[in-house]
Amino acid sequence: MKNLNISRAERLKRFVENNTVPILFVIICAIGIPLSGYSMNYLINEIFVRLSRNAFLILSLLIPIMAGMGLNFGMTLGAMAAEIGLIIICNLGVVGIPGMILAAIISTPISIFLGWMCGNLLNMAKGREMVTSYIIGFFVNGVYQLVVLYMMGSIIPIANSALVLSRGYGIRNTVNLTGIRKQLDGLIPLRIAGINIPIATLLVIALLCVFILWFRKTKLGQDMRAVGQDMEVARASGIKVERTRIISIIMSTVFAGYGMIIYLQNIGTLNTYNSHTQVGMFSIAALLVGGASVAKANIRNVFLGVVLFHLMFVISPMAGKNLIGEAQLGEYFRVFVSYGVITVSLVLYEVRKKRELSYEGDELAAEQKEDK
């Protein structure tokens, strides 16, 4: 109301305040790119690779944020479901786009079940959704290992002996996904000025973006926004709060699963026991780098985040090497930055939440002082 005539400096200050993290990353990248010595062409190519690889995964985080459940660290659940789907198609010997579709279909019921479970648990832990979803990720990872490392090949028959460990059961540490490798990326090949653009993958990502935009206009989307802003008001108006929250987690989990399939078709190998563990962390870090917060995120944040975060990721080992002759240092640096950015965002979110709570009161106190 009052902020109609604020000065330009004020506006700039506010802009910087609201976009601290992205601005910081622009600076890191601006310093790092010349240090790394990579060519522009290489970097742009790399950005397209990363964009097509990660964007879908990160988009899956948007829906729980809309429903006020914070960053869904439980997206690893979807990733695990996708990996089971991929192991199964490898076992069946199905390849190419049909293989990916089949893996997606197989992963869907698993994702729905895991998402439903996760949503229920999160409803029992309102107010600490993030740490709970984070632990759920670990917990389900244990169950996943039990299934993949001990039950596959013994209880669940695996015909393809190339997948199984020599001891006779359990899936190997790495599964070669030659059958679906770069299948989607290469479906509609396009090469401009030496830069490969994976049109098909980008189309799929665009489709999800359109879906999310459309979804915000549906009744369910509106309910999720309402629940996300004020659970009690939503409940009073008759919205089924718990159910809405569960649905948002299920949707996120299912999309994360599809995202994981896209991610792995680009990578080409499945690290059976740890591909999924870092996916959640990197996706969340990228989203936050794009300027999202725990309570607010949009599609723009996703793309900006992927570009900035992965640019930093690509250049830091070389920059580290050129700076002090230690590539390892750069690798540690990027890990540090990933965790650091999440920490900073979480802290900022909590601090801002508190500040907003006391804001009204401060205003009142000031008013009273003026009165006297």
Binding site: V94, Q145, N173, N274
Partner: protein, 150 residues
């Protein structure tokens, strides 16, 4: 409500059908083409050019064996050779492989005996034994979550 139920059932069925069709369409097979003499039945051909579907053709000499990797079940085998009567033979033969097996072998000499014979005469399932060869190269299982990051 009824309409809703129908839509849901139809969608479920469609998804399941899609899954099955994806399985059949995407199923990968290795088809070995073999030009070895089948003792007492058919001698090896001097030279034969084969291709399956639209793949690059291979030229096989006696005792040669090579492979095509294909997806799907219906395929066209294109053979081109000169038979013992110096007839130039250039023929496309359609065949089908059941989805359940990974590998099949085509015995070209048997095929050459009678190009119009049913596929069961010259095509059979191939049981592989060589796959487990890379046992020694097995890496330890790492369930530690950190290695992926480094």
């Amino acid at each position: 409500m009824n309409r809703r139920l129908i839509v849901r059932i139809v969608t479920c069925v469609a998804v399941i059908l899609l899954a099955f069709s994806m399985y059949f369409i995407g199923r990968q097979h290795t088809i070995l083409v073999d030009n070895r003499t089948v003792e007492g039945v058919a001698p090896a051909l001097k030279s034969i050019e084969v291709s399956i579907d639209k793949q690059d053709s291979l030229e096989l000499y006696p005792r040669d064996r090579d492979q095509f990797v294909v997806t799907g079940q219906s395929h066209k085998l294109h053979v081109k050779y000169t038979d013992s009567n110096w007839n130039e033979i250039d023929k496309v033969i359609k065949f089908k492989v059941p989805a359940k097996n990974d590998m099949y072998i085509i015995s070209l000499p048997k095929l050459a005996m009678n190009l119009d014979a049913p596929q069961s005469e010259w095509l059979e399932v191939f049981k592989s034994m060589a796959v487990q060869a890379d046992q020694s190269a097995e890496e330890p299982i790492v369930t530690d979550d950190l290695s992926a990051m480094m």
